[in-house]
Symmetry: C2
Subunit: 341 residues, 2 copies
């Protein structure tokens, strides 16, 4: 049988109330007695029963998620996963609040953060856009000892407890390796398509990609990035133009938002099988494109995993329980036609 507070009290030769004071870091216990209690805890291997504790505490986890409003399909997927998580959250005394802010608008994000009632919220997860106001807002939360995790997009690490997302530099290098290897010994040009280079994640992927291509695949040359601004029509026009102009494009890297446009253009051409295409984010469209041979590989971060991980991390900080590091590491997943989930 697992030891309880009663056993600890007995073992330490103190009363239950004293054990309680030590466990919950309440004042009014001499250092010496604290040590005696802690020694007893260690000796017995006592571990607090969190279920019972939370029951007694009437603890409810009020978690706030701040995400950009329906920008690209990845963010939509993230939102969907959040709603999924919401369905199950009642089971473990968790209330998920989802607030949407204007996409990549640091001020809107800061305003949302400033509006948080620190007495009502027990943890915050946000898709970060960094700015001075955002940093100040986050500092307020940390002062109030409210756990904060960043999701998908990070801020500097003094302002949050954890980052839940992939290493975008490694992701860019991965894309470079895949395109380079899939192209084999062919040489030629590589087209780059993105939503906007203002987004830090995309900028990082691009820089890492270009560097890795330059280092390892001398036969390939990166063309300037096409910025589709999250608009499929713009992407379509720009890419079609480019492919008409350049006749030795052997690879294409779709860095972020913009898969729809890329797929449309490639499908309308007869030479799409000659271009090695690597894109980001697994969605219904990109799965289909993999299946049809339009995309050769898709790099993905599991939005569902990220949501669950963020929830676990916040709760762990609230309950002061340990975290299983491996479980919380977000993988840079590579999908080809054959290993689709």
């Amino acid at each position: 049988m697992r030891p309880t507070v009663h056993d600890v009290a007995g073992e330490a030769g103190v009363s239950l109330a004293t054990v309680d004071r030590v466990l919950n870091r309440r004042s009014g216990v001499r250092a010496e007695t604290v040590a005696r209690v802690n020694a007893a805890i260690l000796r017995l291997g006592y571990v607090r029963d969190i279920s019972a504790a939370n029951l007694a505490k009437q603890r409810v986890y009020n978690l706030l998620f701040i995400v950009p409003e329906g920008s690209n399909s990845f963010m939509l997927g993230l939102e969907q996963e959040l709603n999924q998580a919401k369905l199950y959250s009642v089971l473990d005394r968790t209330h998920l609040d989802i607030r949407k802010v204007k996409t990549f608008d640091a001020d809107a994000l800061a305003t949302a953060l400033d509006g948080i009632d620190i007495t009502q919220v027990s943890g915050v997860a946000l898709v970060a856009t960094e700015s001075e106001r955002v940093r100040r807002a986050l500092a307020r939360l940390r002062e109030a000892d409210i756990p904060v995790v960043t999701l998908v997009s990070d801020v500097s690490d003094a302002y949050r407890d954890h980052y839940v997302g992939i290493d975008n530099i490694a992701a860019g290098r991965t894309a470079a390796s895949l395109i380079g290897r899939f192209c084999g010994r062919r040489s030629g040009k590589v087209a780059l398509v993105a939503g906007s280079m203002l987004v830090k994640d995309h900028a990082e992927r691009r820089a890492a990609f270009e560097q890795a291509i330059g280092e390892a695949f001398r036969g390939l040359e990166c063309l300037p990035v096409l910025e589709g601004r999250d608009d499929a029509a713009v992407t379509r026009t720009l890419l079609a133009e480019l492919l008409d102009r350049e006749h030795d494009v052997v690879g294409l890297y779709s860095i972020g938002a913009g898969n729809r446009g890329v797929i449309d253009v490639l499908m309308s051409r007869t030479d799409y099988r000659d271009i090695t295409v690597v894109a980001h984010e697994l969605t219904d469209h990109s799965k289909q494109a993999l299946h049809d041979g339009i995309f050769d590989a898709v790099i993905n971060q599991d939005a569902g995993h990220e949501v669950r991980s963020a929830i676990r991390l916040l709760k762990a900080r609230i309950d002061d329980t340990p975290v299983i590091a491996n479980q919380e590491a977000i993988r840079i997943e590579i999908y080809i036609r054959d290993n689709l989930p």
Copy 2:
């Protein structure tokens, strides 16, 4: 505030005892009354508080894991993950019991299963080796309503509740695509190395691999499988012999146990960069081989994820709670040098 049994009783106009009888499927309640209570539950959106329930029930999850004793490094990794999980398991009233049986010995496995005291064990996870005796042993567990999940290696689905592991046919096809694509336009032979073809998983991977190569990469020809029998020395000898004999080997697929031997042989040769190598299971050795350019890709199943998933699935069956399907799906992970975790 979340509704409790008291609220349900009030809403249904019955006593607490009756609600309790309905919730816990005890007898002695008229069908009509049951319906009234259930209606009230639905109306209020009542969800049983599992923490409180388990506290009252003094529930302890006694989970038994049966794994093959230290055969290859993947199984060792699995065991390590189990021990990791054990460290945390005390936090949630879970006791993990790990029993090791002789590798791929169906009788030993069946004996272990037959020896289970069904009054003491609340759930079982096993790395399965199928046989009639094993099936009978599993049938006994299911009759006793003890949840069973298979880990890494499956039995036919009438004998277990879930399978936690990858689709080995898809994994074999994935390996074929990677080797085919990485080889580019080159043609030549592909060597296959495995522990033993008696293991179902490896046999499946191999068959799928050969089929996919035959379908999609006509320039490649699969050589007969080298069976290293989980012995690095044997693998070394066989592979070295083969590479001396055949001079147009462009690819190598390490299907299962045997990475150590493969790495040794390739490292000792000057031409290892000309051979595209895809292996299974991410370990310290295979990571190093990826890093050194000896391996081009590694296909992995996350042992830690599998262990945690098995635990969650067993508990979900025990508590009769829903499962998040996506969270429990084991991915066929592809690693190259750039996306190592």
